[in-house]
Amino acid sequence: MSGENEMTTASSQPNFPGGTPEEREFEMTTDSSQTSFPRGTPEEREFEFRAHVGAMWSGSRLFIAMYTFLLASVCFAYFYLRSSNNAQLWRPHNVTAPLYYGWAIYILLLFTALMALFGQTRFRKGSVNDWQIAGWAGVLSGLVALFLQIFEFTKVPFNPGSSAYASIFIGFACINCLTIFAGTYWLETTLARSLRIRKELGGTNPELSTAFTARSLRANVSAMTYFWGYIALSSTLFLWMFYRF
């Protein structure tokens, strides 16, 4: 096994109160949907754990690919209707959605993405408190962005059916609500998990970072940060499309 040097056995570990992180993990994890099996040998558990981390890595990338096709469909609709300009009703009088809301939502999303990135960087260096402060700031920012995106529906200066632009903006705003909700939910659940892990593993001893649960959390944080980077990038494109183009 490529990672055999990372194997942790009872004999190679220092003495931990209540057993090694792996042992505690073993006792905690009886659910088949978790990362290890009660009947597995350490090698098997390590193998499945590596598969689990790989699944998080490739899952987040595939999720982004899937989301790209979703957003690409919105872009296609935007440019199709724009180039068709049927009945000269693409965007009469160049009316756009409120620019201030667009910028505010964009800045908040950018801030959340940066907080997630900063938090992850600090988390990797062991500064759990920095990660949590940055993360909760990101959650707050994401929730405000979500509120503004919903509130913007009441402030648009057009009816949904008044033009093709109005329609596609309403469609985009619905999907953007979904995107912000998904990203914020992911960030919040990762933070909540990191808080609970301390309790489950019994402290913040640096050696506990080798436990499956802790390694799984790090993979999750990494995948979540990647998704937020993607949200920030796609938001830039949509800001340009819907508010400036």
Partner: protein, 658 residues
């Protein structure tokens, strides 16, 4: 990589200690009728539906367009949305995401051992696979009954069972339900059940996403079925605008139903693709991955990437109906062609979502019954991946006659013709495998032969439809209808039935009655061809689809097709009887590995243990070394409780005797 089979010190030391403390399972998952199951899901759906409808009426009944039309699409949509949420909450899908908000990992789902686990949320891929078997058959039989109604109406061009309006709504419901069913008919039941077993994994990557995809799929069935009490929809399964914008509330069921089926498909594909990529057993290199798994992987990729555009198209359609956006209304700046593009960007990969798993099944079964290695394994893989990639570049051939710049037609004609090349690979590999083989004519093998026969007719009739002149001539007629029934029913469904007969002994531990299944095969094969081949002729003679009357001169051919269709329907009833007789009325224990397959899925114990393999196997070769002297062992099972430690292939003599 090697997996040690010795008990490490750590484990030995633990074996003397008291057993590890098990976490309590949630009350929502405990056995008994007070926990969460299908019944609570139905109650949740009913409550959600009522609440959504009330809320929709509350917020929108004063709107002038609602008051004037007497139809409240907002209430109908919210009712369906909340109904689905209630369904998912009732079955327990939402427990885990809600627990995650508090940082909990959720309770385990596995402890129910009796039959009620099949009507509950389960994270066991084998349970989910069998749940899918039942639900896709439910889809299939419901839509099949509608097909019988269609053929009854077409018995006469002048005497009518239904009005024209009712007829088109029956056709639409039939087509939509069949397409929804067919998109998951293999990936759902066989993909979920078999993929972990075939790659040597003990689990799926994301079992809760797998369970979610199944229960959302069933919700999709209920939603699309709700179109009937809502008055149906007149657009056919393609849901074209502007007709869709003019349709009644049944259209909302169509749009929402298709959108959530899209989400279910994407979730299922996502989970399966990630499982195949990450959970292959040690030694299961890409060149050793079975052909069926390759087919499922290609399909899962398509499901994940193609369905988002369906979701977007459905969302835009629902917004047109509810908040009066104008995505598909050309008079107000929208375009009906936008729907056609978004829909077919999903719709054509959807065709291959239906075809590719069939290719995979046939490629998997042929070597077993030909007792020969699979001919040109890498060509099969290239064919499956080639079809998957090319399927994203052909969608505009569906709109050759509308919504496409005529100068773009040759490009899409070319890409469509190109896709016949990787499809042809599958035939070449099949014929290569059968060449000089000592074939065993079992029921699954007969289905494979039928697949080749039917798919050849479907494929050839498809190749020249990709040419613009032919396409323009036969478009919208029975020729096209017959073509895709030959590819989907004649190809995919025949392959699925072959796969089901092949793998049911593994899934149930019971033998399927040979005589009944043989009769069922021949009736299905003969009457399928007698139903749909005349339709090719009817189409060439000019009968249009979706119209309930036709030229009197075509009565004979239509009556022949209708009577054959009734017999085809009877063959499906015979299938249901065969299953009931073999699994319930007269169950007989199946021998271990009744087909002498080398497939990894047959090497584990029966019934398949909860975690599939006692020890994770180490794979040593591919599973196609039939009749090869000195072939290497398939896998090292590490002394676990596998059905057989080694998979030495039987000699030719043994094979013939069997």
């Amino acid at each position: 990589m090697s997996i040690s089979t010795e008990q490490p010190n750590e484990v030995v030391r633990r074996s003397a200690a008291p057993p590890p403390k098990r976490r309590a399972i949630s009350w929502t998952q405990r056995p008994g009728w007070m926990s969460q199951h299908l019944g609570t899901a139905l109650v949740g759906a009913a409550l959600g539906y009522w609440l959504g409808h009330w809320f929709g009426n509350y917020i929108s009944s004063d709107y002038s367009y609602v008051a004037n039309s007497g139809q409240n699409s907002i209430a109908d949509t919210l009712a369906l949305v909340m109904g689905v949420v209630g369904w998912l909450a009732g079955i327990g899908v939402l427990n885990y995401p809600l627990a995650k908000i508090a940082g909990r990992e959720g309770k385990e789902l596995e402890d129910v051992k009796d039959w009620t686990r099949y009507v509950r949320l389960s994270s066991d891929h084998k349970v989910v696979g069998l749940q899918y078997v039942v639900s896709v058959l439910l889809f299939f039989f419901t839509a099949g009954l509608l097909a019988m109604a269609i053929r009854t109406e077409l018995l006469s061009p002048t005497f009518h069972m239904f009005s024209a309006d009712t007829y088109i709504k029956i056709v639409s419901e039939h087509g939509t339900m069949m397409m929804m069913m067919a998109s998951s008919i293999v990936v759902g039941p066989l993909g979920n059940y078999l993929v972990p077993l075939m790659i040597g994994s003990r689990r799926m990557a994301f079992p809760r996403i797998e369970a979610f995809s199944f229960w959302l799929f069933t919700a999709g069935y209920l939603v699309i079925f709700s179109a009937l009490p809502y008055g149906g929809f007149p657009t056919g399964w393609t849901g074209y605008a502007p007709l869709a914008n003019q349709a009644g509330p049944g259209m909302v069921s169509y749009l929402f139903g298709f959108a959530i089926i899209g989400v279910a498909m994407a979730a299922a594909g996502f989970n399966i693709a990630i499982t195949i990529v990450n959970y292959r057993a040690p030694g299961m290199t890409w060149s050793r991955v079975p052909a069926f798994v390759w087919g499922i992987l290609a399909t899962a990729g398509l499901m994940t990437l193609a369905t988002p555009s369906l979701f977007v198209a459905g969302l835009f359609g629902i917004l047109d109906h509810t908040v009066l956006t104008t995505f598909y209304v050309a008079e107000h700046g929208g375009s009906s062609y936008l729907w056609e593009n978004l829909f077919w960007f999903f719709g054509h990969p959807e065709v291959y979502i239906m075809a590719l798993p069939g290719f995979g099944i046939v490629a998997e079964l042929l070597p077993v019954f030909a007792r020969k290695p699979l001919f040109a394994f890498k060509v099969v893989v290239a064919g499956e991946l080639g079809v998957a990639v090319l399927s994203f570049f052909v969608w505009q051939h569906h709109i050759f006659q509308s919504g496409i710049d005529p100068s773009m037609r040759p490009l899409y004609m070319l890409t469509t013709e190109l896709i016949s090349i990787p499809t042809g690979f599958i035939f070449l590999v099949g014929m290569g495998t059968l060449y000089k083989a000592k074939i065993r004519f079992t029921v699954p093998m007969l289905f494979c032969f039928a697949f080749f026969f039917n798919f050849l007719i479907g494929g050839v009739s498809g190749v020249f439809q990709s040419d613009v002149p032919v396409n323009v001539t036969v478009h919208g007629g029975f020729f096209v209808l017959s073509h895709f029934h030959y590819t989907i029913l004649g190809g995919l469904v025949f392959a699925f039935f072959g796969g089901l007969y092949y793998w049911l002994p593994l899934m149930t531990g019971l033998e399927i009655n040979k005589k009944l299944s043989l009769i069922q095969f021949w009736t299905m094969f003969v009457f399928f061809n007698l139903t749909f081949f005349p339709m090719l002729i009817i189409g060439l003679l000019g009968q249009p689809r979706r119209v309930f009357t036709y030229a009197r001169a075509l009565t004979g051919l239509n009556d022949f097709a209708s009577v054959s269709a009734f017999c085809l329907g009877a063959s499906f009833l015979l299938f249901a009887w065969t299953l009931a007789y073999s699994l319930v009325i007269n169950p007989k224990k199946s021998p271990l590995n009744p087909w002498d397959s080398l497939g990894l899925e047959w090497q584990t114990a029966q019934p398949v243990p909860v975690h599939n393999f006692e020890r994770i196997p180490v794979i040593m070769t591919d599973p196609y070394h039939y009749s090869e002297e000195g072939a290497p062992k398939l896998a090292d099972f590490g002394g676990g409780s596998s059905a057989r430690e080694s998979s030495v292939p039987p000699t030719d003599n043994e094979t013939v005797l069997r």
